[in-house]
């Protein structure tokens, strides 16, 4: 992948008559990065993901994923991304395998059953294949959610608040999964999150969104170098929010 994995230039978005949710975002994420997108509730993180996953069209500006324009080249963009929304419940009356097979087919996977079996094996949840998703705990559902997002082996993976509702063990498993996806499959990961502790353990780069404006973006190493006096990433985040 020669082009930047994700590129946003002057992206603005407004829902109907409400105030502007995104106010001119400029952001570049290189292939192979694990990017943590931080921000308060209502900062515009999910709106940014919705634009990058082609679910909504930005009011103005340019957004590209894998070098493709999210508005003009929607089909190409959706061919190279995987997406896990924050509160997805999947089709509860269907088994995990049936859910995954459906999404694999929608992504044009040539051998959907094989891809589903391989994905479930890869995520160590083959035992869930024939169980109905409606009976799953939040953690199990999240694992199947990740499985649907990677069943077609996307180049860029979008995760919206992936740790919400998970217990500490679930959070740890998710963190390990993200790191494996990044190292084994070379996936670029774009993750919206509130959990700052997780960001420092998983992400290579962070960005901070405040009221629709990107107020900070740098690598984790550079960030801790620039803010040596702060005890944790949380202190840095609070200071940045306060300064903005």
């Amino acid at each position: 992948m020669d082009a930047a994995a994700i590129e946003m230039t002057g992206v603005r978005h407004r829902y109907d008559d409400t105030c502007e949710i995104l106010r001119g975002i400029d952001l570049t994420i290189e292939p192979g990065e694990v990017f943590g997108f931080l921000g308060h509730n209502g900062a515009g993180k999910t709106t940014a993901i919705n634009i990058l996953t082609t679910l909504i069209v930005p009011t103005s500006g340019l957004a590209r994923v894998c070098g493709y324009d999210v508005v003009e080249q929607r089909r190409e963009v959706t061919g190279c991304i995987g997406y896990l929304p924050s509160d997805v419940r999947l089709y509860g009356h269907m088994t995990a395998a049936e859910n995954l097979e459906f999404f694999a087919k929608l992504s044009g996977v040539s051998e959907p059953r094989k891809a589903v079996a391989e994905t479930l094996d890869y995520l160590d949840c083959a035992d869930l294949a024939n169980k109905r998703v409606g009976s799953f705990s939040t953690g199990m559902r999240q694992r199947i959610g990740i499985a649907q997002a990677i069943v077609h082996r996307p180049k860029v993976l979008f995760l919206d608040e992936p740790t919400s509702g998970l217990d500490p063990l679930g959070v740890r498993q998710l963190r390990e999964t993200i790191l494996r996806l990044n190292s084994d499959l070379g996936m670029t990961v774009f993750m919206n999150t509130h959990l700052l502790s997780e960001v420092s353990k998983v992400c290579t780069t962070i960005g901070v969104l405040n009221h629709g404006e990107l107020i900070y973006k740098d690598s984790i190493e550079e960030t801790t170098r620039r803010f040596p006096d702060e005890a944790s990433l949380e202190d840095i985040y609070v200071r940045m929010e306060a300064e903005s």
């Binding site: 919705n50 996953t53 082609t54 679910l55 909504i56 089909r75 959706t78 061919g79 991304i81 997406y83 929304p85 509160d87 997805v88 419940r89 999947l90 089709y91 509860g92 009356h93 269907m94 049936e98 459906f102 999404f103 087919k105 929608l106 992504s107 044009g108 649907q148 979008f158």
Partner: protein, 304 residues
């Protein structure tokens, strides 16, 4: 992609208890229509036999059995009432569930972050509804044929053809309601409001509109009986001009003609009755496609 969406939706509906309950109800009503027809047949024959005996004892000649003059398919004339009542509700549920599940589960977001166009998605949903309604009606047709075989011991080819035509017309009629279920689900984000709106549309189409277009003859909205004298009020004279657009009336009359349970009319007349139903279906298909194109699937719907 249309086939993928359609087959997935058919599987999804098969697993929904509401749908299975409605299907069981329709099949029970179909069987009931047969039982009622058989019961009335038995009663008439018994009364006729008693009359024949009485006439014979007094030395008078007996008239021919009146039941033999009735068309075979008149046994199932109640189906013309059950389809717009139970069948239409079943179709509404089918259409409603096709859309709201993707809203409330948040799966619409997953679908549209894939290589699937909105047109393929909605056409897949419509095809799935068409398949499900066809399967339901085929099951009902099977029960109807069984009922006819029980009563008459045989069924003529022409009668079977008429029955198939009746169920074909019923499929078209029910598709209108499946599409209404989809349209209302796409027009509001609240699941409960969507279902209530769909049922409101069903009430208006099935009961309210015929009240006006039939010149306020309430029994017309329930039973496919011959018109009593029409009202002379100007208001109803005007509203009755819209009668060709009352699809439930057109459905009942065309069905009566196909099953030979109502006044015989020309084939052209019957086709004219079917056209508004087909027109409504086409308009609703176009509206559904347009609504899906504009719908915001990025937000989860309120599942109240």
């Amino acid at each position: 992609m249309i086939a993928t969406v359609a087959s997935h939706q058919v599987l999804s509906l098969r697993r929904q208890r509401v749908f299975l309950a409605m299907l069981a109800t329709l099949l029970t009503m179909t069987a009931l229509a047969g039982v009622l027809g058989w019961s009335s047949h038995q009663t008439i024959v018994r009364v006729y036999d008693e009359a024949v005996k009485l006439l014979a004892s007094t030395g008078k000649p007996a008239p021919p059995n009146p039941f033999l003059l009735k068309p075979t398919l008149s046994l199932l004339s109640n189906m013309v009432v059950y389809i717009p009542l139970i069948g239409a509700l079943l179709a509404l549920i089918v259409g409603h569930l096709s859309i709201v599940d993707d809203e409330t589960n948040g799966t619409g977001r997953l679908v549209f972050s894939r290589q699937v166009s909105r047109t393929s998605y909605v056409l897949g949903k419509i095809v799935s509804a068409a398949i499900v309604v066809a399967v339901v009606l085929t099951a009902s047709l099977g029960v109807s044929v069984a009922a006819l075989l029980v009563v008459n011991r045989a069924i003529a080819g022409a009668d079977l053809g008429r029955l198939v035509m009746f169920y074909g017309l019923s499929w078209l009629y029910l598709m209108v309601f499946a599409l209404i279920g989809m349209v209302t689900a796409l027009m509001t984000r609240r699941r409960s409001i969507a279902l209530l709106s769909a049922m409101g549309a069903w009430l208006v189409i099935t009961f309210v509109i015929p009240q006006f277009t039939s010149g306020l003859r309430p029994t017309q909205s329930l039973n496919p009986i011959t018109d009593p004298a029409s009202t002379s009020q100007t208001f109803f004279k005007i509203t009755s001009k819209f009668r060709p657009y009352s699809i439930v009336e057109q459905y009942k009359r065309a069905s009566g003609r196909i099953l030979q349970t109502s006044t015989v009319e020309s084939l052209g007349h019957t086709i004219q009755r079917i056209l508004p139903i087909a027109g409504a279906a086409v308009v609703l298909v176009l509206l559904t496609i347009r609504l899906v194109q504009r719908h915001d699937f990025s937000r989860s719907a309120n599942s109240e």
